[in-house]
């Protein structure tokens, strides 16, 4: 899997699933829901994310509901990867299952707009703006195959074929 390049879009701790994917829109298509992503927290999110496409966040990202729409609406909004100090566990699994790369890293030293190169497998993050390199935690080895196949659905399809 290739590395992911992009610019940092920065938020703090405890961004929950009701913020990322508000319940009021859950019956809409993912494309429609994506228009409302993060709106209760940052109304400019869907504009910013067009240019700042790697989310760099604090602790406990994606806490709350088990709704998979949370990583789905971020992916639909052009988010290429999420780097967080820590993830809520259901969000972390859902992101892997739908093929949205996630890396755990102390994000304190990254500023909004920094150009980053993320290696999802090794957890290494290069900050081109600050000319620094950070070592985070990449995808656990037992789920590597899911990410390589592009998500759990593709992985299950490949198993079914065998």
């Amino acid at each position: 899997m290739k590395t992911i390049s992009g610019k940092a879009l920065k938020y703090g701790d405890n961004i929950n699933t009701d913020i990322i994917s508000p319940g009021a829109y859950l019956q809409l298509s993912i494309e429609k829901q994506a228009e409302h992503a993060m709106e209760g927290f940052d109304e400019d999110f869907i504009t910013k994310v067009k240019f700042l496409d790697i989310m760099v966040v604090g602790e406990n990202f994606g806490s709350g509901s088990s709704r998979e729409t949370a990583p789905l609406v971020l992916k639909a909004n052009n988010v290429k990867a999420i780097v967080a100090k820590s993830f809520a566990r259901i969000f972390y699994r859902n992101a892997i299952n739908i093929g949205l790369p996630v890396v755990e890293l102390d994000t304190s030293f990254i500023d909004e707009g920094d150009e980053l190169v993320v290696d999802v497998l090794t957890g290494k993050v290069e900050n081109l703006t600050k000319v620094k390199e950070y070592q985070g935690v990449g995808i656990p080895s037992h789920v590597l195959k899911i990410i390589e196949d592009g998500g759990l659905k593709a992985y299950l399809k490949n198993i079914a074929k065998q």
């Binding site: 209760g40 998979e68 820590s86 259901i90 759990l152 299950l156 399809k157």
Partner: protein, 418 residues
């Protein structure tokens, strides 16, 4: 080799004699719960494409509760798709409009001690009150469980939370659960199992224990779990469903942390907007004017909740400035609360009682909040936009505090009415 209760369940369901925190294990869940919001409506097409065969259909329970009863055509279509899928695939049980999923699993005897329960809802950890390992998963993950009958899990470290002593008058399990979350923090137990113990827990009725397990996820926990005892056995006997394995943690099992709480000193608590760990004494927010009071959900809509709310509301009236909505967590809870006269007392006081379901908690059906409105609720989350408008405010508290606040039309300490 010593193991915690959580470890013993993951060892059993992965076919191993011993597991320890940090191990990755492939487990076969005993119960697989799917609800309308995050179920077939999302994965039915992929399910068909992948062969359309459930590995263990008898273990699958499908429940229409979030969009129940439907308020819009879209919701009605979601329920229809859920029902059609459940019937086509001969799942173990299908419920529609009978109550909130976590309560129905308990009422229906689907959960017995020692089970591994996975569900498409983060509050699946509620099952832990019966000595089971319950955990929430996403819809695609559920697709994998349906097809393969298996799930990978990292064996969690456990935190032991001991609550000792008796709760003072006017203080409920909900207050103790909020106090725990306030201390541990919103993400303080992420990836971990939180085991609740101590004399308070063992003396509480089963329905109050469910509150602790239910809210474990609000600390980020993978599961909340309580040692199964005679109360669990008696309950399962009473519904003719006794089975399972009554595991308990070994004396020298490893805990990452042990936290001690004293119930005797606890006063009514609330979680202020917009985080569940934003916990304060109710008295800090007294006189905050309200628009809605909500007693319901898989957290705060059980028999003890209505008994306690009825104690406060008996012979009193809900303020004309607010509406007080009551939603029993299940049909069974409704029947029992009705038989014991609690629902009559609440209705006499001016509460509005609606169908057993998730209700206003998730902001989907009856009781959604408008812009700038303030609500006090016995449910589990107060996130921005959770119960409707992103410009609304939600305070979480015990059913007694909600009832007292309904009388005053503003946030009120329930001890004033006892």
């Amino acid at each position: 080799m010593e193991m915690t209760l959580a470890e013993k369940i993951l060892a059993r369901t992965s076919g191993k004699s011993f597991v320890k925190a940090g191990d990755i294990v492939f487990c076969k869940p005993d119960v697989t719960m799917i609800h309308d919001l995050l179920g077939p409506v999302i994965f039915a097409d992929d399910f068909r494409e992948l062969g359309g065969k459930i590995k263990y259909p008898e273990r699958v329970v499908v429940i229409a509760d979030h969009s129940a009863p439907p308020a819009t055509v879209d919701q009605a279509n979601v329920v229809k798709k859920t029902r059609d899928w459940a019937w086509e695939n001969n799942v173990g049980e299908f419920y529609q409009f009978k109550g909130a999923c976590h309560q129905l699993l308990v009422d229906g005897g689907h959960i017995t001690p020692g089970n591994l329960v996975v569900g498409t809802d983060s509050h699946t950890c509620t099952a832990g009150a019966l000595g089971s390992f319950g955990t929430g998963i996403g819809s695609t993950e559920m697709l994998g469980v349906l097809l393969t009958g298996e799930i990978w899990l990292r064996v969690p470290e456990s935190i032991l939370v001991n609550w000792v002593g008796k709760l003072p008058l006017g203080v409920m399990a909900k207050d103790a659960a909020l106090e725990t979350i306030g201390k541990v923090g919103h993400g303080g137990a992420t990836y971990m199992a939180v085991e609740f113990g101590g004399s308070l827990i063992s003396n509480l009725p089963l329905d109050e224990r469910l509150v602790f397990a239910n809210m474990a996820v609000e600390m980020g926990a993978k599961t909340g779990i309580i040692k199964p005892d005679k109360k669990v056995r008696d309950y399962l006997d009473s519904i003719g469903k006794n089975a399972g394995e009554y595991f308990i943690s070994d004396d020298n099992a490893t805990y990452r942390e042990v936290l001690e709480f004293d119930a005797t000193k606890l006063t009514p608590r609330l979680a202020a907007p917009h985080e569940v760990d934003n916990v304060f004494p109710v008295t800090d927010y007294e006189r905050q004017v309200l628009d809605q009071c909500y007693i319901g959900s898989c957290t705060g809509g059980r028999l003890t909740d209505f008994a306690s709310a009825a104690k406060i509301l008996k012979g009193r009236k809900v303020s004309k400035k607010v509406r007080c909505l009551v939603v029993p967590a299940s049909e069974k809870v409704w029947r029992e609360a009705s038989k014991l006269g609690y629902l009559d007392i609440l209705a006499e006081a001016g509460c509005v009682i609606s169908a057993p379901a998730c209700g206003a908690c998730g902001g989907f059906t009856n009781g959604v909040l408008g812009d700038g409105e303030r609500c006090i609720s016995s449910s589990n989350r107060n996130f921005i936009g959770r119960m409707g408008s992103k410009k609304a405010e939600v305070f979480l508290a015990s059913p007694m505090t909600v009832a007292a606040s309904a009388i005053a039309g503003m946030i009120t300490d329930p001890r004033k009415f006892l």
